[in-house]
Symmetry: D2
Subunit: 306 residues, 4 copies
């Protein structure tokens, strides 16, 4: 009880910020703001036609895997070497296919609104017991529409002139605000915000142990700033969006606030380097999760189109 | 040998149509035509901002599963019912995630160029033995860029005024040509073509046995028409793009011709009904496969944006 | 409530038959009767040294798979064809291995005591909520000791002179009693009982749809007979041990009675044909489940040694 | 070529030791020696009726997992917490089951004869290309009969009065010979030999990195000693049976010699501590692999019965 009280305190007010805002039965949360007008506006941001793929390659070497989660697995049901070694098919047809086993949160991905609860409730007053062994009956990733809208990259590394932020460094409201202003890319309702911390380079440079030991990320006040601006989704180049260790020491306050209280979509393990190198700070953003019925997240190949 | 000769005959000339066209080491095939100019043009097709999700829901009930392929599987590592029943986490944090196991060709998906070979070779003179148990070293789905370009829906059902084509009915060059003309949507180089046959309704109405027993689809001459027009990718609302049984009785000539000889991307199990109902025949098409390293295909949430 | 009352009625008295019998914390149930004396006695049943393997081959063709359960899957991480096609390892070492994905109840298997509950409780007054997404904290298959003891085959087909019993045919107390007497193999405490109904031949002859449509099996009174005799485990050549449809129409009364109330081990999909052909009615029985921590069952290669 | 020559040299003569010994089509190798006479003799070794389970618990915490292999995975299709939280079934029936995904060599296990080849051949002159993506057509684990026979534990720790042998320490012919003599347990044809090195404690004490860095194990000369005595199977409390690093520096000579040349069964990750504590050096050994069709190994619950 004390702990829960402490948590509520860490998150403070607004615990049910967007509940009921789009009706009692709503399962889309802030994705409701992706109106066709906004989508059409976003398409008009495309000038050069360059497409940036923000996903990490999907194999066990390219992805940091949180201990306890299964590594991505890829198995072939028939190989080319089988044919080369003499396996025959009718008419000489040589066909090969495969299966994948993935933790939905183990690659570049989007969290479903059903991913995180608090005090027994998910977003929009939904009982946590709706998430059963056979999937989330409410707020699953299949309820999330394709995210197509205006994207803004807040390149904190460039703004702060550092190769990367430090593990445990809090991304503050002020940092986001200043960076958006300096870039000339205001964060308006319905925007998808990507924040570059440079943290992914820790995985590349030092391996997954260092990568998961801590991370720079969104603090509680920055989370409120995102919520106040009606941001639809926020994606980072770290593994948890929020700063680790958290400011209060209480686990995952930003997850609890943004997903459960606000209905915002969190996206992780984004590769933002090419986008940053190209200086692309505003773009058409497209991310279409797999429609895993009752899924708690989805691997993703998010795109920024400039 | 006779059979192979027969196959070659069925496919006739042009067996190496696009080999070497983009260099000896090319692994992208016709996706090379998705230049930024074409992508920028495609974005200009967006007017209303409406987004159509062309994927089927991803669960074992919503998807026809070819016998022998594993059904999509979805397992939770922690449920909401666990928490409701008293499982505790530090600080009251309630977090749930999950894993999926999928046949890459068992949902709405795109074939990798490594999916199909013939006479020991894949596209661009690539030995089939490059496809090993640990994946395709060449032409894997990770080599396919996100497909962002002009999409055209050839709605054969509407054009021919039938609810659906028949199992085994050949989609001909003439049908595609006439439909494109009637719709006023010419098929130009770099286009992604979607063809609506109505066949998916057989699964919904009669189950998977009828669905897989036969299907209407692209015949060899229609395949040549697509190749001559430098179509990048072709997606259908059936399970194999091509007509089953095939015209010649030889297995999969269209797969062998379009994938292996031409480097075209085949996409299957598309839901084209909403798009057709809306009368949307030209649109910005976006399909971003998961970057499964060495993968022979990828599940997909393809989008048409109008 | 009415339904639950009905169930209780169908199962009638003795709902907590063996609860507390081996202590409040007991998680082994009737396997407690497998004392070393009984094991030593069982070993003395070995005369000829012939070993009968009672398992079905483990692949998707050899096993009837209940709709909804995943088929057994087997994937290689490296193939011999890879080496034949030129893959090299240091020192020329050619090594191959593989993974399997199995429903623990989808092959010849043993149920854990945690497999089945009723009215919120598992065997020995254990709350059903102890079975969480990450496994059964109590009564998992890892708590079941290897079953090594005296086995008796009650060959009902031979006894009743039929190739197989009919779907829906109830195996009665009298049938078991008479068969045991006729065979001269009394069922004494600590025995493992195998009952041959011949039903497996329906799968071989007619496929899995017929196989799962119904089955002959243990009725409630026969279940009580087994419990009264302190049988440790009961294995059949059908998919559910008990008769389907059940006598009362209420689902799975025998499962609920034998597993939950009595702590008996149910074993299914046994191949008893060779054993029957050899006329082996009494033997040393050995079945050692995999120690899947928190598992609800285990695939099994049960042996009868004569 | 030089490397292969070197390998052949390291293994020296006898490269086809048991090829053809039980016929050209034989796929059982030394398990052919498990005659019913020997099985009956083994059963007579049972005195006290005590059963030792030699398997490690099957979960990701209890098992050292070789980097690159998937960890054992266990997923529930329905939980007890689901029922506790209100999921209902017809008639109040509460049933739960689960699936497992295992590397066949990632737990206490037995290698199939198809597991290891050399110079393109498996045991008994079998081309390595018979091992295809869909499994081994020859020498799969499904061809291995249940191993039921006389078991001998050579407890080197006790014999040498050390808690455990060192990483890289070669178990020699002399050590095996002396230990067998001292114990009064001669190794005769048809015996299953278990060798205790104590190495498993490194995993428990120091974790998997140290465990896999090296290990004490069978050297080439000890391997020949085992082969000369017509041992059927050899099991150790390490991860590879043979000493790591190998004596010659060439990878896996003992695997190649014993599996491929001799048709002997290698078994790994055995827990021999309880057996050793009980001073049980001779016993009835029972290990029944899962009949994975075309499998390259099988998880195992091996038993020693005294």
């Amino acid at each position: 009880m004390d702990e829960l009280a402490g948590t509520a305190d860490a998150i403070s007010e607004g615990r049910r910020r967007n509940w009921g805002r789009w009706g009692d039965g709503d399962e889309c949360g802030l994705a409701n703001l992706l109106t066709s007008e906004r989508t059409a506006d976003a398409a008009r941001l495309v000038r050069s036609g360059r497409v940036f793929n923000l996903a990490l390659p999907l194999d066990e070497r390219s992805l940091p895997v949180l201990p306890g989660r299964p590594t991505p697995q890829h198995y072939l049901r028939r190989t080319g070497t089988d044919y080369a070694a003499g396996v025959k098919r009718r008419g000489g047809f040589e066909s090969m296919d495969d299966v994948i086993l993935l933790a939905t949160h183990g690659a570049t991905h989007m969290d479903a609104l059903a991913h995180v609860g608090d005090e027994g409730l998910l977003f929009n007053d939904t009982p946590i017991a709706t998430v059963r062994a056979n999937g989330a009956r409410k707020l699953g990733i299949d309820k999330c529409p394709p995210l197509v809208g205006r994207g803004v990259l807040l390149d904190l590394c460039r703004h702060m002139n550092v190769p990367r932020l430090d593990g445990g460094q809090v991304v503050t409201r002020q940092m986001l605000e200043d960076c958006a202003t300096a870039q000339g890319t205001p964060v308006t309702p319905g925007t998808i915000v990507l924040v570059r911390t440079g943290w992914l380079s820790v995985f590349t440079d030092e391996g997954s142990e260092s990568f998961f030991a801590a991370e720079p990320g969104i603090g509680m006040d920055a989370a409120r700033w995102l919520a106040e601006r009606d941001v639809v989704a926020v994606g980072l180049d770290n593994y948890a969006v929020e700063v680790i260790p958290t400011e209060s020491g209480i686990p995952a306050p930003v997850h609890r606030y943004l997903i459960r209280d606000c209905g915002m979509y969190l996206m992780e393990l984004f590769n933002l380097d090419e986008l940053a190198e190209a200086g692309a700070h505003e773009f058409m953003f497209v991310a279409a999760p797999l429609g895993i019925v009752g899924g708690l997240g989805s691997p993703l190949t998010p795109l920024a189109i400039t």
